[in-house]
């Protein structure tokens, strides 16, 4: 029984935090707020030099041979710093799906570019604003001999403007599975509520699509879901830190507002939500990474809890700051929007709870 990270993993976290505080202060993040398709290629290159993209991939695919679990705290740091790079999409979601579902040939072809950072992959699942997975996927590839083609449009694709290739959920018969589209995807960058990251729609017009070998969405989707939770934890930790810190500095009525129970208890409740979310997210990361029996269940538990409770935490963070959080200059709203966006991405609370209900036989 060891439900905590190793000294090496904490070491990487500390190194990442130092690096990001220096190379990715919020002023750097803000350079890209108004640019629908913008992201930090500079930061990306530095991260590649540090080997971060290579981390979770086996050595034969150009990776460093570490595991998905080694990504968890790193994703948190990227969430904490709002780093404007497509790491979550390319390395922790699409890359992990390819690793989990691809054939030897597919992995060898696709992963080295992702592991070096030279190619960027994005995960394209949703087509509708409401509902997730299952029957909400209505893209049906056509087969022409050995070649598959995709038609239609995927929406709400995170990091689409940065991506070179897409890992697309589509439906064959009554089975959803993953296809890789390397060419012919048309991306329309869109205005995002969370201005620190890009998203867009991706349309396919007879695009050649390569089906990944393992013909299910799972466990790839679970890995991606756990990764989103891990990133959310970092952003939520920062919200709590900011709120506590502000409450110690801000004086009203001649005292720091952090000495009032109204604020103290709010922060204590946030800390409790955060600890529960952390336990859920880390457990899900371990379970999906190690193929535990309750991998699927725990990913639904983690995302449902993180979705709803961390959104609540973010709102309380705004309230704890008062008017200042309402200004564009203050960073609080960027974190609020980050969490609110993550809340619905890859399935909202009710979706994941319905999955829980089915798994536990309700």
């Amino acid at each position: 029984m060891d439900f905590d990270f190793s000294a090496d993993q904490y070491g990487l976290r500390d190194e990442a935090r130092r690096f990001l505080e220096k190379q990715c202060p919020v002023s750097h993040v803000r350079e890209f707020l108004d640019d629908k398709a913008g992201w930090s290629r500079d930061l990306w290159k530095q991260m590649a030099d540090l080997g971060w993209m290579a981390l979770p991939f086996p050595e034969q695919y150009g990776g460093l041979g570490q595991s998905f679990l080694d990504l968890v705290l790193l994703l948190g740091e990227l969430g904490r710093s709002l780093a404007p790079v497509p790491f979550l999409s390319s390395v922790a979601m699409a890359g992990q799906v390819i690793l989990a579902h691809g054939s030897e040939e597919q992995r060898a072809r696709l992963l080295p570019g992702i592991a070096s950072g030279d190619r960027i992959a994005a995960l394209a699942v949703s087509e509708q604003p409401q509902g997730f997975g299952g029957t909400s996927i209505d893209m049906h590839p056509t087969q022409d001999g050995d070649t598959w083609h995709l038609n239609g449009e995927k929406k709400y694709v995170l990091d689409a403007p940065a991506a070179d290739l897409f890992v697309v959920a589509a439906c064959v018969g009554d089975q959803n599975r993953w296809f890789v589209v390397e060419e012919g995807a048309r991306v329309t960058p869109q205005t995002t509520y969370d201005p620190t990251r890009g998203a867009g729609s991706v349309s396919f017009d007879d695009a050649v699509a390569d089906p990944l070998e393992a013909p299910f969405l799972f466990p790839g989707l679970q890995l991606a879901t756990a990764a989103v939770c891990a990133e959310m934890i970092g952003a939520a930790e920062k919200i709590l830190d900011m709120t506590v810190e502000y409450s110690k500095q801000r004086e009203q009525f001649g005292r720091p507002i952090g000495s009032f129970q109204a604020i103290k208890h709010k922060c204590a409740e946030m800390a409790t939500e955060l600890e529960a979310a952390r336990a859920a997210a880390y457990y899900a990361c371990w379970a999906v990474a190690s193929g535990a029996e309750d991998a699927a269940l725990s990913s639904h538990i983690a995302k449902s809890y993180c979705s709803d409770q961390l959104a609540h935490l973010a709102g309380e963070g705004v309230q704890g700051h008062g008017g200042i959080a309402f200004t564009w200059e203050h960073d609080m709203h960027l974190y609020l929007k980050r969490i609110k966006t993550a809340q619905v991405f890859l399935g909202d609370g009710p979706y994941h709870r319905e999955r829980i209900a089915r798994i536990v036989g309700l």
Binding site: S126, Q128, P129, Q130, G131, F132, G134, T135, S136, K155, Y156, Q190, T191, T192, Y193, D194, P195, A199, E251, Q252, F253, G254, R255, I257, F260, A262, I263, A311, G315, V318, Q319, G322, G323, A325, F326, T327, W328, E329, H333, L336, K337, K340, T341, V344, F345, D348, P350, Y351, E354
Partner: protein, 407 residues
């Protein structure tokens, strides 16, 4: 107890509703109508519309005729709000502060000369008002206002900074809360000045907010000269008067807010009916149906609470401390409502503006909803006021104004 309207009130309702129908801006409400987008466009649009309302005599329905009003009842005023909302007419915007905050405060505490001078020009739209309350270090602790007004002969000399001032850069006048005595307990040394916004030394700067727009300004005052005659009421009574302003913010306008939310709710219901999830409209989906019905109940209860507030004003002449309960109720309700609306936008809420769900309106509503529980007395401040003034619990903390200062 009788909540029915009198025949006279019903006749007035028909009159105003017919007028609104005949006078809405051309094309308003049709899909072709090009809504004003930027803040400046909204200002221009609302100036024309509110001018038309003013010319028809709808601006100050319950204000005395002496001050340019229609001189009828509070009920007529409420009916006007209801019919405006029912017709989905453009909301009062540029003249909001004048009609709802500055005007009633001047009416309650100004000299006869001040009333005659200022009130008619609010109603005929010849002068626009803003309000200078909050400061960077006077938020929850509003009594901590530091903007100083020092008497120098027949003028006050004003120095300081305000924040969250709507319309400052277009306003002609400012209802300014400032410190005129630093030697006494902080809430005892405040006064209200009526400040000409065209005076030398006033600099409004737009304040970019959470939505990326700038609906508010910061205002910097540097050696601004304000004639002594511009003092509202008595010196050092500003804290008491400010409570009038805040109470008015929670008076008849409360029912207008309610109807605005009912309209938003109806829009949300429309979206929920046409958006599908798992093969059924979101409005019928278990994840949302109960939540939407709850939102409906909460918005209706806001109406009932508004009726109780109005009854209290009609019976006692003024809203009571229960205004704080009403403020807490509706601001928390708005937060829940906007949480629900952004949830119905679903993944559509990831995108914003033209790319967003319903043009991003629920995103903006969600972002702006935090203003409700923070501005005009945060929820924490309201809870202090309720526990101390309504429930009589011991102070123990210094957060809320002392009970003995109550107005």
């Amino acid at each position: 107890m009788d909540l029915a309207f009198s025949p006279e009130e019903t006749a007035f309702r028909h009159e105003i509703s017919a007028w609104i129908r005949d006078n809405l801006p051309a094309g308003w409400g049709t899909p072709e109508f090009k809504e004003p987008k930027t803040f400046e466009e909204r200002l221009e649009f609302s100036r024309a519309w509110e001018k038309r309302l003013a010319e028809a005599g709808w601006a100050g329905i319950s204000w005395p005729k002496d001050y340019g009003g229609r001189g009828t009842t509070l009920m007529d005023q409420i009916i006007f709000h209801e019919e405006m909302a029912a017709a989905r007419a453009p909301q009062i915007f540029i003249n909001f502060v004048g009609i709802n905050l500055a005007g009633p405060t001047i009416m309650a505490h100004g000299s006869e000369q001040q009333k005659k001078r200022y009130l008619p020009k609010i109603l005929d739209m010849s002068e626009v008002w803003c309000q200078g309350f909050s400061e960077p270090n006077a938020g929850s602790d509003l009594a901590n206002v530091q903007t100083k007004a020092v008497l120098d002969g027949d003028n006050f000399i004003v120095n300081g900074q305000k924040i969250w001032t709507s319309f400052a850069h277009v306003a002609d006048w400012c209802l300014l809360l400032c410190r005129t005595d630093s030697s006494v307990a902080k809430h005892k040394g405040l006064s209200y000045l009526l400040v000409d916004m065209h005076s030398a030394g006033i600099e409004p700067r737009p304040l970019k907010q959470i939505t990326g727009e700038a609906e508010f300004d910061e205002v910097f005052f540097t050696d601004v000269r304000v004639p002594r005659a511009q003092l509202l009421g008595e010196m050092n009574m500003g804290w008491t008067y400010a409570n009038t302003t805040l109470a008015n913010e929670r008076g008849p306008a409360f029912l207008a807010h309610q109807i605005r939310f009912r309209n938003s709710l109806n829009d949300l219901f429309d979206s929920a009916k046409r958006t599908m999830r798992d093969g059924v409209p979101v409005a019928e989906h278990p994840a949302f149906r109960d939540r939407l019905a709850r939102a409906y109940a909460e918005v209706e209860i806001m109406r009932y609470i508004g009726y109780r507030l109005v009854t209290s004003i009609l019976r006692n002449g003024r809203p009571g401390v229960e205004g704080s309960i009403a403020k807490l109720y509706w601001s928390e309700m708005v937060r829940r409502f906007q949480e629900t609306s952004i949830a119905i936008a679903g993944l559509g809420g990831m995108l914003d503006d033209e790319d967003g769900f319903d043009g991003g309106k629920w995103n903006r509503g969600f972002s702006m909803s935090f203003a409700q529980t923070i501005a005009a007395g945060s929820s924490e401040i309201q809870k202090n006021i309720i526990s101390e003034r309504v429930l009589g619990m011991p102070r123990g903390e210094v957060w809320a104004p002392k009970p003995k200062e109550k107005v």
